[in-house]
Symmetry: C2
């Protein structure tokens, strides 16, 4: 086993610095926005002089709190996120330092579970919800989403007292694109055989993008890319696996960890904590609001219908990263990704790329069983 | 027990007549549209000279067929509907005469499960999907939905070869409103104590509205209202129960039957097979497309956020129908209605109206357990 990449320490160390930064910002009157999803454009938040962190929960310990009101049979991410809010706002001591750093929540009408959970949030935190058209292809859908983004802009202007000007918005777009380009540079190196970094390492880095400041995160990725570019190729290798499906929020690394402990190497993640977060850039030469509406509505989340662009993206990634097999990951009770699996599987069958479907929650009770299934899968694709 | 209402026979007899009518229409070139949801306006379909029937499945026997591809842990209505399509289009003999009467399916982006199931339909039947904004309150949402309705109109014009003119559309609006007024007349009589009709009887009638022709259905409701207006009040009475929640499609009368077998009387159903299907009329003096967009987007389905209008509607109905208790019905794994229950329950608590939550599928295995819970609930509210 190769020694871990030194630059990964940067991300660990940045955590406390960021907490301090956010606390200080709040004292100085900066509004901190909590979000739950990639569909809320960071660029608009930053252009309004606010800051943001993503509140999606990957921890199991807040779920019991959520289940005091939410149904048991909904996705663990929703329960974990809601439980963290309830706990933090009702003087609990479970976690979640992040919730307490936030002034308002900005959510979006994505999946049924999240959409309805958001209706319960205003009891704990001021909540603003962006609507999303669900058939993203048409000009009318772009127009509708654009109107939602502009309303959101006005909401932020009222909240922060700062006007959002076009120049600032363009600056934020360029800056977010810079992050996206760096992530492409990082992910490109994973095409090597063997790749210079493990999937578990990348996942932990990707989870940090939702908490660190953009500057901090970019600096970390820059250091990481530089170190990787000069790294001696690791001795270890194994079947090249793509993870595809639901997000793995901070605290949840279960499936990636099992896959790599079993001797495979994850070379790419098609998920909100993988390619979906950075793949497409925002057009820089366009009117910025329209460019944002177009780019964000293109995010191939399973809440969109039909989601053909996701399916062709998965096939492209499988080729580009020389993937031996795909582990399709569904958070338990996530109907969107669960049903969409059928179309993904069909497309991959044509390409002769095997797929293993795993549906799981945040608990430990299925770790052994998943391990056995992954063992069998890796034997098959080796 | 009072003898059953004679007019109910009308609905039974109409079934075969309607099947014959649809077959004949198809021979003559009329296009038959299969729909799955209240959000697709019948008026537009009829104004294009097409006919329609609703394909939502309430039967358990098509579910096994669906589970050959769909995940097990999604709602039984979705599985039953999909199974019927697969079975009918693959030469199965389970059912479903209805699917074979249909030329195309027109679906809508409501819940996650349906939305993703629709993506699998084109393999079996031509499928058109209407988008729905999910935050229905804003003028921009109306504009977007209006554009979706107009596109749908154009699609129907191409399909049928008939132009949709404003006059015809207005005529269809008036005619659908006439049905809605008749249903108000029927439901109003259920405010009596005891009501002149049982909930199980009403449910079977309401399920027919999705299959019979509008003329047939109106005639049946007219006869039924007249008979009820002259009926001797039934001797039987019991706690007055409202059913609220998910639709009960033809074939599924499980919960209503149990509730009334246990001695209660259902006086109103707040569901797609109850008030949601007819409560609001379309404005007749308005530009018809806009009037349709406004009325249909007001349907208080749990796919909308926030769905405050549903909650206040439930409270209104509970008062208007002098309800002793509410049975809140969720189809298993329906996140929307399941999570929305919390807000409904809170509103009802203020009104001191007890609620019993039941989540169930189409199987028989929980009939005894549900019976015991309903027994206890009725004892409490009596």
């Amino acid at each position: 086993m190769q020694p871990p990449l030194k630059s990964l320490d940067y991300f660990q160390k940045s955590y406390d610095i960021r907490v301090g930064q956010l606390k200080e910002k709040r004292v100085r009157g900066t509004k901190i926005i909590g979000t739950f999803c990639l569909f809320v454009p960071d660029e608009i938040i930053f252009a309004a002089g606010a800051d943001r962190l993503v509140l999606c929960g990957g921890r199991t310990d807040t779920i019991a709190r959520a289940e005091q009101s939410l149904p048991r049979n909904i996705c663990p991410l929703i329960k974990s996120s809601f439980g963290a809010v309830v706990d933090a706002c009702c003087g609990g001591n479970l976690s979640c330092a992040h919730v307490q750093l936030v002034d308002v929540v900005v959510a979006e009408a994505t999946c049924d579970g999240k959409k309805k959970m958001y209706e319960l949030l205003p009891e704990y935190l001021p909540t603003y919800v962006l609507d999303l058209p669900q058939k993203p292809g048409s000009p009318e859908a772009i127009t509708y989403f654009l109107s939602e983004l502009r309303k959101f802009g006005t909401y932020l202007e009222d909240l922060t007292g700062n006007a959002i000007n076009e120049e600032q918005l363009k600056k934020e777009i360029n800056s977010s694109n810079e992050t996206r380009r760096l992530l492409h540079r990082l992910f490109d190196m994973r095409r090597c055989d063997p790749p210079p970094i493990t999937g578990s390492e990348v996942l932990q880095v990707m989870q940090k993008q939702f908490f660190l400041s953009p500057d901090q995160f970019r600096e970390g990725i820059r250091q990481l890319c530089e170190e990787m570019e000069h790294r001696i190729p690791p001795a270890r290798s194994g079947p090249r696996i793509m993870i595809s499906g639901c997000p793995m929020s901070a605290g949840n690394t279960k499936i990636s960890d099992i896959v790599e402990k079993k001797g495979a190497v994850i070379v790419v993640e098609e998920s909100c904590t993988g390619t979906r977060s950075f793949w497409d850039l925002v057009e820089e030469d366009k009117e910025p609001w329209t460019a944002l509406a177009e780019r964000y509505l293109r995010i191939p989340c399973a809440c969109m219908t039909p989601n053909d662009q996701r399916i062709s993206h998965i096939v492209d990634l499988a080729r580009r990263y020389h993937v031996d097999g795909i582990v399709y990951y569904t958070l338990q009770f996530c109907h969107g990704y669960n049903i969409e699996r059928l179309r993904v599987q069909k497309a991959l069958k044509k390409e002769k790329i095997p797929l293993l479907a795993i549906e799981s929650d945040y608990g430990d009770s299925d770790v052994e069983q998943i391990g056995i299934r992954i063992d069998a899968f890796l034997e098959m694709v080796s």
